[in-house]
C-alpha cells in the first residue's frame, strides 16, 4: 500500500496544498493520489518502509514518544500560558515522526555556503567595532550600523580571542523555487545572538533511533551526537590567552526560562557548570563563581542571556540575570563571552540584505547561498513597492524575533494589512518586505493523518579556531495547515534531519 492511498483514506487531500515543492515527492500538488507517487531518490527506502507499516503504527509511536519526552522532561515554557490544571507552564515540543531527508551532495554545498557566510559575518562584526572598512567603502550605510539599537559602543576597539564574535550561529534556511523553477536553498535569517533549539536536534535523533532502529539500519544517516563535543572544543578554543586549562560555564536565566532544558542539557553533555547570574561575581576584573569550596575563576561563559541583561552596571540596571562588572572583566580580556556582546548588529533584519555584499567585500568570493530577495522600506522605491503589494508580501519588523511583529500578506485580513500600512508609513526604516516564498513542505504526521506542512532548517555553525558543524541541523515545521511560521512559540514542531549518503 502506498502512502498516497493512506492519505486519501485519512481525508487529508480535499484541500489542494498551496506549496510548490515537497521534500519527499517530485511533483505537487499530490497528483500521485491517482497516478502513484513520484518519490525523490533519497526518500525511496523510507517510502517503501512506510508503506509496509500497519495503519496504526504512527499513532502508537507518537504516543510512545510523548511519554518518553515527558519522563525525560524535554519541555519548554510558553510565556503566559497555563496547562489544563493551571499548575505549570511546561509543554512538550511537538516532535514529528517523519524525518526530513537531505541528500549528502546538497548538504555539501550548503555546508560550504554556511562556512563562507558565517566567516564573513564574523569579519563584519570585527570590522564595525574596529576599522569600519566596510562603512568607509560605502558597502553598508554607516547610519544603518551606528544607529542600530544592536550596535554596542562599549565594544568599539575591544579585541576578542580569534576575532570571533558569533561562536554559535543559527542560520535559518528554506528551500524554495528559484527563477528557473528549481528547488534552491535560501538563507532566511541569521541568528547570531543566542540561537536555541540544538538540544531538540539531538533529542529528536535519539528518539528516532529509539523508535525506529530498523530505519537506521536501512539508511546511512550522518550522526549528529558529537555536537556537544564540537561546542566544548569551540568554547575552549575561545578562552583568553592567559589560561591553559580554561573553566567553561553555561549561563542560564534560570529554570523558568523557556529554553532551560537546553541550557541544562548542554552543560551536562559538556560536563561544565550551569550557572545563574547570582552564582557569579567579579573581583579585580576577574569573574568567579561561588562554590562549596570558595570562589573559582571562570574563563569562558557560554551565555544564554541577552546582551541587555548581562551586566546591570552597563546595560539594564534592573537585571538580576547577569553579573555586575562582567563587561569590565570582558573588556580587560579576562573572560570570554560567547557569543560576544554586540553580535546583534549583524543579524538584524535591516543588515541582512547586505550579507551577500559582505561576503564579496571580505572574502572576494561569490556567495554560495542566496538571500531571499528583500525590499528595504528605508529606500523610497522599495517602500512604494511594498505598500503597493502588501497583500502578497511578508513584512517584518527589523528588530522583531520569534515570528512576532510580522505580516504575512496572503494570510492577513484587510484590517491587519491596513494596520501594517500605517505602521510601515510611520517608521519605514523599521521594516523590510520579502515575497511570500513557496517554502517547501514535508509529509508530516498531524491530527488528520500524513499531510504536507511547511518546513525550514536551522544548522548550527560553530566558530572557534575553525568553522565547523554537525551535518544537518534542526528542521522546524509549521504544524498548522498552510502556515509559514515555524517558531516553537507559535505552534511549530520539529523533525529529525537526515543527511543521507544515497
Amino acid at each position: 500500500m502506498r502512502v498516497g492511498v493512506k492519505l486519501a483514506k485519512l481525508g487529508a487531500v480535499e484541500k489542494v496544498p498551496m506549496q510548490k515543492f515537497d521534500e519527499m515527492y517530485t511533483r505537487l500538488p499530490y497528483e500521485f493520489f491517482t497516478q502513484g507517487a513520484q518519490i525523490r531518490d533519497h526518500y525511496k527506502i523510507y517510502d517503501e518502509w512506510l508503506a509496509r507499516q500497519p495503519g496504526d503504527m504512527m499513532a502508537k509511536r507518537r504516543e510512545e514518544a510523548e511519554m518518553i519526552f515527558r519522563r525525560v522532561g524535554i519541555t519548554f515554557a510558553v510565556y503566559g500560558e497555563k496547562d489544563e490544571e493551571g499548575a505549570g507552564t511546561e509543554r512538550l515540543i511537538p516532535f514529528d515522526l517523519i524525518p526530513r531527508i537531505i541528500p549528502a551532495h546538497e548538504w555539501a554545498t550548503m555546508e560550504r555556503g554556511l562556512v563562507q557566510r558565517v566567516t564573513a559575518l564574523n569579519r563584519f562584526i570585527h570590522d564595525v567595532y574596529h576599522g569600519q572598512d566596510i562603512l568607509r567603502a560605502g558597502v553598508v550605510p554607516r547610519e544603518q550600523v551606528e544607529r542600530n539599537a544592536q550596535f554596542r559602543p562599549e565594544m568599539v576597539g575591544v579585541d576578542v580571542p580569534n576575532q570571533i564574535y558569533s561562536h554559535i550561529s543559527g542560520i535559518d534556511i528554506v528551500r524554495a523555487p528559484n527563477s528557473a523553477g528549481e528547488g534552491e536553498y535560501y538563507v532566511l535569517e541569521d541568528n547570531l545572538r543566542v540561537p536555541s533549539g540544538v538540544s531538540y536536534m539531538l533529542e529528536d535523533r535519539k528518539m528516532m533511533m529509539r523508535l525506529f532502529p530498523e530505519l537506521f539500519n536501512a539508511h546511512r544517516v550522518a550522526p549528529v551526537a558529537h555536537y556537544p563535543d564540537l561546542l566544548l572544543e569551540t568554547l575552549r578554543a575561545s578562552s583568553p590567552a592567559t589560561t591553559a586549562e580554561p573553566t567553561v560555564v553555561v549561563l542560564t536565566p534560570g529554570m523558568y526560562n523557556s529554553a532551560y532544558f537546553e541550557h541544562a542539557f548542554l552543560a551536562q553533555q559538556m560536563g561544565v557548570e550551569l550557572v545563574e547570574g547570582q552564582d557569579l561575581f567579579v573581583k579585580d576584573n576577574f569573574v568567579y563563581m561561588r562554590t562549596t569550596r570558595g570562589p573559582k575563576r571562570v574563563d569562558v561563559i557560554y551565555r544564554r542571556v541577552d546582551d541587555d541583561f548581562l551586566d546591570p552596571q552597563v546595560f539594564r540596571p534592573s537585571s538580576t540575570l547577569g553579573c555586575a562588572g562582567l563587561l569590565d572583566a570582558y573588556r580587560a580580556g579576562h573572560v570570554t563571552i560567547c557569543n560576544a556582546v554586540g553580535t546583534g548588529v549583524a543579524d538584524d533584519k535591516s543588515i541582512y540584505p547586505y550579507v551577500p555584499k559582505m561576503i564579496e567585500f571580505y572574502l572576494g568570493e561569490k556567495p554560495i547561498l542566496s538571500n531571499v530577495p528583500t525590499y528595504m522600506c528605508r529606500n523610497k522605491d522599495d517602500l512604494a513597492y511594498t505598500l503597493a503589494n502588501l497583500k502578497d508580501l511578508v513584512v517584518k519588523e527589523v528588530h522583531g524575533a520569534g515570528g512576532y511583529g510580522m505580516l504575512v500578506g496572503p494570510a492577513a485580513t484587510k484590517a491587519e494589512i491596513e494596520d501594517f500600512r500605517q505602521a510601515v508609513l510611520a517608521n519605514p526604516e523599521g521594516y523590510i518586505a520579502q515575497p511570500t516564498l513557496s517554502l517547501s513542505s514535508c509529509p508530516t504526521f498531524v491530527e488528520s493523518g500524513i499531510a504536507p506542512r511547511h518546513i525550514d532548517l536551522r544548522p548550527y555553525v560553530l566558530s572557534g579556531k575553525t568553522v565547523q558543524m554537525v551535518p544537518g541541523g534542526l528542521t522546524r515545521v509549521a504544524l498548522k495547515e498552510g502556515s509559514l511560521v515555524v517558531n516553537s512559540s507559535q505552534g511549530g514542531g520539529t523533525k529529525d534531519t537526515w543527511i543521507l549518503e544515497v
Binding site: V72, G73, R290
Partner: protein, 319 residues
C-alpha cells in the same frame, strides 16, 4: 561545585525524605483508624499528626474541626500546605529540575516520574480509592530515589550533599514523631493501670514502630513485649536502627566530614557533639530529665545545624 547546586541537591533530598515520612505517619494513622477504637482516641491520632508538622493552627483556620478525610486531603493533596505530599514531591522535583545536569539521568527521571505520577494519581482519584496503596507507593518512590542515587551517582560532593539532606531531614522527622506520640500518652506513661489501657498501649506503640518500619526490628532487638521506654531507646539511641536519631546523626557527621573545608570546623564540631550525646546517652537518663524537653532541644539543634550547613556551603554570603 556551585553553592546553589549544592543547595538544590540538599533540599531535593530533604523534600523527598519529608514526603516519605508524611506518608508513613498518614499510613499508620489510617491503618489504626481501621481498628475498633473510641472516636476521641482516633481524633488524638489525627491531631497529633498535624502537631508533628506544626500545622494544627493552619488546619483549624482552614477546615475547623479535625476530620479524617479533611486531614488526609490537607496532608496529601493541598498544594497550599507546604508539607503536603504533593507539595513535597513538587518541591523535590523543582529542585531536581534546577540541577538536572548534575544528576544522573536515572535520578532525574525518577523524580520527574514521581511528580508526573503523583499528579495523575491525585487527580484521577487513585488516592481516595486506596489510601493505603497510595502511601505505600510514596514510600517506595522514596526508596527508589535513594537507591537510584546511591546506585548511579558519582561518589563526590553532589552525592554527599544529597545524603546530608536526607539524614538531617530524617533526624528531624523521627524526633518529631517520637515527641508527639509520647506526648499523647504522657499522662499514663509509666504503669498502665487497666487491661483496656494495656491493649490500647500495644496498638499505640506498635503503630509508632510500624511508621518507621521498626516493628520487626523491635522484636528482633529486644525479644520482648512492646514497652514504651524501649521504643524510645530504639528510635533515639540505637545506631543500628536506620531511622533512629543516632543512625541519622552518624550519617550527617560522616557526610559532613566528606565535604568539609577550612571554614566549616564549627559546623562539624556541633554535629559531632550532638552525635556524641546520642552515642553515650542512656534512655533512663533521657526519660528522667523529660523526653519532651530533650526532643525539643534536639530539634532546635538539628535546626541550628541546618543553618550552619546553609551558611558554610549553600548560600555563602559575600564573595
Amino acid at each position: 561545585m556551585l553553592s546553589r547546586t549544592a543547595d538544590h541537591l540538599f533540599w531535593m533530598s530533604r523534600y523527598t525524605e519529608r514526603a516519605e515520612n508524611t506518608a508513613r505517619m498518614l499510613d499508620v494513622n489510617y491503618q489504626t483508624s481501621l481498628l475498633p477504637q473510641s472516636e476521641a482516641v482516633a481524633l488524638v491520632g489525627w491531631q497529633g499528626l498535624l502537631s508533628i508538622s506544626e500545622l494544627l493552627p493552619t488546619y483549624q483556620r482552614l477546615h475547623g474541626e479535625v476530620n479524617v478525610q479533611k486531614v488526609m486531603d490537607f496532608m496529601v493533596k493541598d498544594e497550599s500546605n507546604p508539607s503536603s505530599i504533593m507539595s513535597c514531591l513538587s518541591a523535590a522535583r523543582e529542585n531536581a529540575r534546577a540541577v538536572r545536569g548534575t544528576l544522573t539521568t536515572e535520578v532525574w527521571e525518577t523524580h520527574n516520574q514521581t511528580w508526573l505520577e503523583v499528579r495523575r494519581m491525585v487527580n484521577n482519584g487513585d488516592f481516595e480509592r486506596d489510601p493505603g496503596q497510595f502511601f505505600e507507593w510514596v514510600k517506595f518512590r522514596s526508596h527508589l530515589s535513594r537507591g537510584v542515587t546511591v546506585g548511579t551517582m558519582l561518589m563526590d560532593e553532589a552525592l554527599y550533599f544529597m545524603r546530608l539532606g536526607t539524614f538531617l531531614e530524617r533526624a528531624d522527622n523521627t524526633a518529631r514523631l517520637v515527641d508527639v506520640k509520647f506526648h499523647a500518652v504522657q499522662s499514663d506513661f509509666f504503669g498502665a493501670a487497666s487491661e483496656k489501657d494495656q491493649e490500647y498501649d500495644f496498638y499505640h506503640w506498635s503503630a509508632i514502630l510500624r511508621s518507621v518500619s521498626g516493628f520487626e526490628v523491635y522484636r528482633k532487638v529486644y525479644r520482648d513485649v512492646i514497652k514504651p521506654e524501649r521504643v524510645a531507646e530504639l528510635l533515639i539511641l540505637r545506631p543500628d536502627m536506620p531511622r533512629s536519631l543516632h543512625a541519622s546523626l552518624n550519617e550527617v557527621v560522616s557526610n559532613l566530614g566528606l565535604v568539609s573545608n577550612d571554614q566549616t570546623g564549627e559546623t562539624h564540631r556541633r554535629a559531632g557533639k550532638l552525635r556524641a550525646e546520642l552515642k553515650y546517652g542512656r534512655i533512663d537518663e533521657i526519660l528522667a530529665t523529660g523526653l519532651h524537653a530533650y526532643l525539643t532541644q534536639f530539634l532546635d539543634r538539628v535546626n541550628d545545624l541546618g543553618s550552619h550547613i546553609s551558611r558554610d556551603f549553600l548560600v555563602p554570603s559575600g564573595a
